[in-house]
Amino acid sequence: MSQDLRQDSNPAAAETGLHEKGLSKGTVGVMGLVVIGISSIAPAYTLTAGLGATVAEVGTSLPAILLAGFLPMLLVALGYRELNNAMPDSGTSFTWATRAFGPMIGWMGGWGLVAATVIVLSNLAAVAVDFFYILLAQLTGHDEIAELTTNLWINIPTTLIFIAVAAFISYRGMNATKVFQYGLVAFQVAVLLLFAVMSFTSNQPFDRTPITLEMFNPAGVESFSAFAAGISLSIFVFWGWDVTLTMNEETTDPKKVPGRGATWTVLLIMALYVAVSLGVLYWAGVGTTGLGAGNPENQESIFAVLSGPVMGPLALLMSLAILSSSAASLQSTMVSPARTLLAMGYYKALPTSFAKISPRFMSPSVATFVTAAAAAVFYVVTRLVSENALWDTITALGLMICFYYGLTALACVWYFRAELFSSARNVIFKFLAPLIGGVVLLVLFFATAFESMDPDYGSGSNIGGVGMVFILGVGVLLLGVVAMIYMRITQPSFFKGETIKTYKPIK
């Protein structure tokens, strides 16, 4: 296999000695890794964005779905880790899928990853802007300021400014420091726990719903389509956890730290999610009127509605936690699609200008700009055509994650096809786990995509009788197919396998 890798036009080892001296080795311990994991998940943001939409699908089975959603994520992440260990120098779904399945599927894998991150960027920016105005309203005591975000003439420009600032910070290569991350994560977790505690100790819950064991039973969900939609949403809430598994050389002990860090992260996150979701169910119930979590009015951004009644004046803290978590994620997530686009440019799957690196800031220049522009365009279009943009983008995002994650998992199985049964370890980590995970995610993808054609799906927005989520999710993928065909005609070298070779096992 290493023979095969050498034939690629892979970047050669640096003559300038960057590799030997540049990378500082091993500074992250278990605690640090947990902090990195939680900050990648950004629980305050994912809960406010994802909880309402998930309740809409599965009602009181919310805790069960949150726990069940972790399983496919875990299975896929295990395959992800195997690929990362085998091909550490080209760590994106794009290159992995290309090596396993060839240029066309690899290209779509890269597109799926970029599309998912661009969608989440636009959603992050929107959530940050909402809570920016809510926070201003809470600070000044003028409630009408919070309403400003519903005015498109104010909302869209503010969101574009948030995106532009995040892109600029990414371009300048400014990084979050350890102290900053620790502080941010501690604050988020503390505020979310406070919300859970206050909703249980509240004197007058809106719709007191007793906690039952039935809430933890995934089989309690009424239909398969609701179950599928719920799972694909709850994958979104764990998205980011797998970063703990792929950090190796950055840790103090690559043999122990990633495993322990990943375990602790998921235990903490699950405890947090269960506490908050039970708190929401207990306090607000799933009723479709007033403050009920089942009210479509509340589902776009659940804490925007509930934190005030539950936490009183302390709701300020929740707004601050969500604003800081989504703004920080906006900046850090911006880096990822830019680097994938850069890699695609470097391997000639996109115009080579995408591979430009700023000589001053050592960051992708064209690719960062394109990422920010794409997120901005996506946001403006969604905001203009959908009545419930946040909700629909989150559902479309779940769809997109299922697509590229499922593809990556199957790429793992296919890439290692010659050695799947050579050891018991391989059977589990390279075959069974990614196979089951990948198949589950792709089934979810197709099931949700099919369901979402219904105009009543998600928020109920539609164009010409076709559901908005379907148009967003599948439309973006079809756009990718068109772009791919265009690239194949104008710049065929990647598609001929000249830049990345598809791996064939040596018989």
Binding site: P11, V335, L342
Partner: protein
Amino acid sequence: MKLLVGYTADERGAEAIELASALVASTPDASLHIAIVLPAAAPFSAVYPGGDHGYSTILSAQVDQWAKHALTLVPEGIQASVVARSVSSVAEGLISLAQQVDADGIVLGGRKRHRAGFFMPGAIANALLHSSPVSVFMSSPTAIETLRAANGKLTRLTAFVGDRPGAKDVIELSAQIATACAVPLRVATLVLPYDVQDPDRDLDAHVQATSDYLSQLTASMELDATIDVVVGRNLDEATGQLSWQDGDLALLGSARLAAARRLFIGPKAQRILGKLSVPMGVIPNPGSDN
């Protein structure tokens, strides 16, 4: 002479190499160490999703390409090598590299920026100007133009001194550089009206005294230097009085509050830097044992 060039793969980097080449060209053992510095790995801003690993490989391939190109910019007869390093602070990284290779100075390409009339060196140059243990040389596009007009060769060094005791150290170090570069030395002093109690009565005498003092000083150091004392109503005007020729290089000393063997630019020098349109260098405090 051995210089460390803080290189970025753009116009500024090319200009830095141009200035550095002019500085070392006629010195014995002329060599340049071209440094490309990258931001340090920051594990706490984990890139998610997708991971960081593919990017660092592509980045190091790009750096190799830049390194090759940088070497082609160095004229023949000058030894040159490139080193790339990830550092947490660019200025600190350049200083530690300069110390490692035992360089006589650090060269930066730059852009002049003015904020509300004040000259602001870039963040990196600014940090170096307040902490470097070796001389720091800077260019700007206009400065490089004057160097190019002299076919890329230095023709004269101009050392800025005051009439205070530190002048001797600045002249001494400047003279060493001038000798190494085989160019004549000019010692320039700016005299302002408030240097004396009654300008109308004492200014001319003060100018004469300063000129005499510097002549004696350079004579006692057995130097062949021209003395240029200019008068102006303020620092900007005085600086503007000085005549410049193509291929000039201006040298300034550190403020007296600089730590021993460290560079710390004073407000006066910073003001002068902003007015100059020739390449310039700032030299460190020679140390208390001098």
